[in-house]
Subunit: 338 residues, 2 copies
Amino acid sequence: MDKSSRILLAHGSGGLLYRRLVEEVLLPYFTNPILSQLGDAALCDLPSGRLALTCDSFVVKPLFFPGGDIGRLAVCGTVNDLAMSGARPLYLTLGLIIEEGFLMADLQRICASIAQAAQEAGVSIITGDTKVVGKGQADGIFINTAGVGVVASQRDLSRGPQVQPGDKVLLTGSLAQHGMAVMAAREELAIDPPLVSDVAPLPSLTDAIFKAAPGIKLLRDPTRGGVAATLSEWAESTGLSICLEEAALPLERPVAALCELLGLDPLYVANEGKFLAAVPPKEEKAALAALRAHPLGRQAACIGAFTDEPGAKVSITTPYGGRRLVGMISGEQLPRIC
Amino acid sequence: MDKSSRILLAHGSGGLLYRRLVEEVLLPYFTNPILSQLGDAALCDLPSGRLALTCDSFVVKPLFFPGGDIGRLAVCGTVNDLAMSGARPLYLTLGLIIEEGFLMADLQRICASIAQAAQEAGVSIITGDTKVVGKGQADGIFINTAGVGVVASQRDLSRGPQVQPGDKVLLTGSLAQHGMAVMAAREELAIDPPLVSDVAPLPSLTDAIFKAAPGIKLLRDPTRGGVAATLSEWAESTGLSICLEEAALPLERPVAALCELLGLDPLYVANEGKFLAAVPPKEEKAALAALRAHPLGRQAACIGAFTDEPGAKVSITTPYGGRRLVGMISGEQLPRIC
């Protein structure tokens, strides 16, 4: 295929060009026996357990950024949502909406990245759909993935134990890397070395914490809205307050510097390869040790704890002993970071 | 909510406005116990059988047309893909990509339509995702739905019997209604009464044919690319030819007239509430009787048969005894009809 080949409106029809796009460009990246049947729906057998189902659309801009691209994000985002529910991710759907004129070479680069991330995450893409819209009717490419997994009964956090005052809040690594990497790439900020997104599939890291801390109570990946949004929701849903220690927050210096420059609070910036966990205090050490032994959890830290202070608020204690509230932002700090 | 309210970029963040959009605008349309848990993934128990999984993106233009809208289409398209694989559809995901400035009232109208179609189809929306992109970066709204169903073993067409020469090709109703209705609405053609899309959920109609014709061999809804694309694929996959009778094709006069006016062949135009089935000749009568007894199958007809003519071609015999080949189109007749 010519390097300057581009997607045509006709690639989105049900005709021959559509079939060629599917069979010659897309399918070779994702080959597996279920996908190859190419039925209206993909058929497969599931191991026993409860079904977990999730979906996510991805509209990140720019499409390519240090550490990843929209394809890697579309796999990791969905796989991580499954992992956070305690599920073992198994299958993904792949829905592409492509703008007419999109470079075929970029589509292939994105597909290669999807295939690579799916392999890392241990999932197969078993069904998909491609639509093409006219020039100016979308922004390059949008991707939707839905994911199916199975939750073994001992991992069903939705039926799990109640959070209590004293339970610890763990974070598996440094804050705000994804959001700031995308921001820097979008604004073409000349940061050297460039900020790199943390986008990564987390199922093997959740495996580690489930094993080390079977009493784990909550699990969530702080994507849009960042750590602040997740903890605000936890405070609201549990009716407990959460107190964080600013000094304990893992944060890389270049990320912190860019946040300061742009007036952003890293607690509100998206992550794509981190999770927050609530564990009983007696399991804190084992959980941290297990996380730190994993390549994606080396900087894992206990960043605070649940308390019975009234008001179900999230607050943070500064190194100088001050204390401020962490609310949910109402608006949008960084649009299109996933 | 004010009638002139519009979607803001901030509605796509993980912050408060996003939560208000989800909790106050979207969720009330789709309430069910699984969705209400609002976890990273939805958890549910499945009846026994093989899992069927499918996904589809919808970019139809205009968003509203006689007989339906993008919301009804997004439910029916995915539910019908499940039904065509022999599955009982159970659950849908709902991914929205909305352009900044989109009218909140239109979003609500679309959600109401999704809820209505889901109820007709007997499925629940159990998880979803909403993204907002800037003005001019999408065209109003794009919707992606993924669907999960279960295939009972006696309905597993993927392991079903081989098609043979003499097997009949049935079509459940008149051709090309969806594509021409959208086309007429898009071009604002003053047709009175307006052409109405056939978009409808087909699971109860597939129930009828599975019951009446247990020997059924193939099932497919002829959407993009129309009847011609589906039959071309069947000819290719079975290695048999298919001969159609033009006089037997159900086709409404206004649809035929608009096709002729625009130089379109109705065999290539999309349908969204019809299916094609291949049945053994001894089950033709029972199948047609069962289809015709159903409100969505009243015009069901046998439109042709598989033959052992060499070449695995699809051809059509005209009322005057002529015969022409029906190939797959390579290009795009009608972009964005689903």
